[in-house]
Each structure stands twice: as C-alpha cells, then as structure tokens.
Amino acid sequence: MDNKWSESIEKLTAYKDSILEAGGEARVSKQHSQGKLTARERMEALFDDDTFVEINDMVTSAAVDFGMDKKRKMGDGVITGYGKVHGRTVFASSQDFTINGGSLGKAHAMKICRAMDMAMDMKAPFISMNDSGGARIEEGIDSLAGYADIFYRNTMASGVIPQISVILGPCAGGACYSPAICDYIFMTESASQMYITGPQVVKSVTGEEITASDLGGASVHAAKSGVAHFVYENDLECLNGVRRLIGYLPDSNSEFPDNVPGTAVDNCADIPEIVPSNPKAAYDVRDVINSFIDLGSFMEVQSEFAKNIVVGFARIDGDTIGIVANQSNCIAGSLEINASDKGARFIRFCDCFNIPLLTLVDVPAFMPGSNQEHNGIIRHGAKLLYAFSEATVPKISIIMRKAYGGAYIAMNSKGLGADVVYAWPIAEIAVMGASGAVAIIGRKAISEAEDQEAKKQELIDEYNDKFMNPYIAAKNGYVDEVILPEQTREKIVAALDMLRFKEKEIPSKKHGNIPL
C-alpha cells in the first residue's frame, strides 16, 4: 500500500470515528443518564442484527451564523438509512440529541427527506425516531422549510407506505405535525414529550402552570388526547413494540401482510362463559377476541383512549386482520366522539394497507347528551359510517349481542357493505331496546290501560319476543347466518378465505370528502 492509500484510509477512519463519537462522551453519558439510548443504539435496536446501512453520514450543515460554523458535526444531528426488520427492508431516521440538541436545520431535513424518498421509491415502511429540541433557530427560515419538506412527504406517502413515528425525547412545536400525519405514534413513559407550545409559553400566554409531562407526556397523549397509539416504559421496549407492529403490516399499499404461521388457539375459551346473555351485563370484549384468534396475536392500538371501542391487529391462521369491537365494560360500548374518531382512523389504515376488517358488535346506541351533541357527535359519528362504507377490503361482522339503531348501522352493517354478517343466537338487532321502544309505540295503549304497569310489561314482552333476536334480520338478509359461538373461528377463517381475492371498485374521484 503506497502513502496516498494509507493516508486516505487514515483520513476516512478519522472521519468515521468522528461520526461514531456523536456529540462526545459527556453528552452520550448524559443521554444514557436520562434513560435514553443514543440515536445509533436506537437504530441497532430497531433493525435485525447487523443489517443497518447508514446513508449520507458525512452531510454537514453549511450554516455559519451565530457560531454554527464552530458547532458543525458530520451527520448534522440525524442518522438515516435502511436495514431489515423481520428480514424486510425498512427505512428510518433517528435524531441525535447529543449533536446540537437534535435540532432540525436544512441539511438535517434533507437527510430525512432523502430517506423518505428512498422508502417511497422502494415501497418500504418508514420509521422516524424523534428526539429533538425543534427547529434550529440559527438556520432561520431554512429550518422551517425543512419541516415543510418533511410534512409534504409524510402526506404524499400516507396510504402508500406505513409511516411510524417513535417519540423518544422532546418533540415540540411544528415538529409534532410530522408524527401527527404518520400512521402510528409510539411514546415512552420515561422521556417522551409532545406539545405545540411548551409549559413556559403556556404560562406566559394563558397564565396556566403545568409540567411538561402533564402537558404532553406519554400518559396524557395515550389516555386524553389520543395522539399516542402505543406507550412503552423505555426505548428498548418501545422499539421492540415497533418491530412487533411491523410484523402485522405489508411493505406498502400494493402488498399484503406476510403470513406468520401459528394456528394455536385458546381451547379453554368458552364464549357463553365470557359473554352474559343479559344485555345489561358487562364483559371484556378482549376475552372474546382472544378466544378465537391465533394465541397471543392481539396487538391493541390506543388501548387507553376511548376504551368503549377496542381496535387492534390480530392473526387468524397466520393472516393479519384488523379488529374493531364495542367494549361492553366501558359505557356499555356506546359510541361517542372519541370512539368514532378512533375506529374510523383504524378502519381507514386497514383499508389503505389491504388488511381485512373484523367487526364485533355489541352496541346499545350513540351516546346521548348535550356534551356529545354540542361537540359534534353527528360530524364525528359520520366518520365511522364513512370509513366502513368506503373500505373495500374484506369486511366481516359478528353481531354478538346488542345491535341497536344508528349505532348498529355504523358498526359495519350489511347496508354499509359488509361482505359477511354473522350473529350469535343471543343477538338482538332492533331499532332500540324494548323499554325505549314501548315508551314510544305503546304510549297511547299504556295511558289508556287500567293497569298501566301490567300493560307496559305486556308490550315489552311482546317487543322482546318479536324483535329482540337475530332471526328477523336473518330472514330479511341483513344477517347471512346465525352461528353457534363455538363456530366463530371456523366461520371467520372460511369467510376470509372466500374473500382473499376480493376486488371492489369505488367510483372514480379525486378523493372523497370524509367529514373531518
């Protein structure tokens, strides 16, 4: 090897060592002391072992104002590249808080955009790991333009490739809108924060005093705002969660999810022991789900938000399905604003990415009250109807127990395009419950009766006998078959198999106008 070779290799090695140093030992130690991994460690945890390939590792900011020329580091505070997750190609970016606080400038944004463009070209999922102080103020409006470039790409990629944001540190201001456009947001209990304006600005503008975690911590976004879809204790658990989610998803909208063999089921589960026949008695619908899916395959989405509806991914005979289920043990499974939003967004995701939908129905009504009406239950509830109607993936419904009124229609009824509708023998499919119905249609008869209570009970019994069963709906074709509970899995498997190559066209249009 001549001198030029050895000098060149030495120079390259020095560059690479400098890149691997990140922001230096002290800053890496500080990152670790906060319970956070470094950007590079996160890449390693996300990808299959030894598969990560970095791109643009030497990209450096050209900014010079406010001392930036002395703070520049190769990589510009973000690592980008690709690797394998479960053997499939995935692209990712990981912001490095140890370099200029992970702030986003022109070069930093360009690197993320380059990785996103490659993900789109390769039709592969994109994962964004966020840990950043926000816009790099020293770079002025170029940093804002950088965000705009990312938001635009997030929007163009929406519905084409799965996009997942993992918030592993601060994510403030406009930076929140990239995760918000993505399909799923992961957060950690230990370090994640998301807010448009931080506690100091909140105090100066409104006078309200609030901590960063109370304003935008993981618990708040999981339970109150519904911004976070998954929350884990720390970085390692969180990135394992991302790996698990990717296992359910296809690479893009032109693919189907991989089959993951694992047909074991819970043979001890007995649906009549889980679901009481008394329509007013509560139960946990997740026990029903776990009774017929591949054992342990249910991954619930937004488990702490709008608990009256349960949504998530599962497998049946190894194939991914999306489940939407009324949760009887939370406000009797009534549909309200947040449940409608949660359900509609999940349905649309499944429809984008060729994931069949299974709907488990036990719903008494849309939630009544001025709070719901004044906050727009009409507008929000319509999203659920719209999403089910618009979805062209295989759609299967099982009416478990109550299915009343408009809420019955909204939960993937035959009229909204359900391909197959099953009902258990205890199902009650009606305009409303017996008491409410008799109060309206029997008002005159009750008021004229000598014994009003006896008359009311007589009419309730008559209504129950005539309407509160699945057989009228079956006779009229709104239910395809009334099935025994123990047939549930085999019927779903058969329906999914029949619908495997379903093709359904919707009228040509630029896009629909879902009531947002």
Partner: protein
C-alpha cells in the same frame, strides 16, 4: 481475568461443540481456520454495562 471468564481456547471449543451438535458432524472433523474476537456494539455495551434484560423481538416470539 476473573474465574467466570472463559479463555479463548474454551470459547473455540464451545463453538466447535455447538457446530458439531447442530450439523451432526464429529467434532474431530471440524477445523478452526481463523478466530477473531468481535467487539461489542454500542447497544450491546450499554445493555451489558447496565445489566439490562433484553431480547430483540422476533416473529418467532409469537409462536
């Protein structure tokens, strides 16, 4: 070196035994051509230094 740490020879012997078992080959017929110690990755080092119990999730974990 502490009592619990393995020597290079012991590590190679264990690797040979594992390959023999996996492939059904007689260990005597396995020849080690080269041996190189791999340094820990940053993540492996962090996990080791902090005594963290961690297993990367794989699809096989579902089974």
């Amino acid at each position: 070196m502490t009592d619990t740490e393995l020597t290079k020879e012991e590590i190679v012997a264990m690797a040979v035994a594992a390959i023999a078992e996996e492939t059904g080959t007689d260990a005597k017929n396995i020849r080690v051509k080269s041996f190189r110690e791999m340094s820990l990755s940053p993540l492996q080092r962090y996990i080791q230094e902090n005594n963290i119990t961690y297993k990367k999730y794989t699809l096989e974990d579902e089974l």
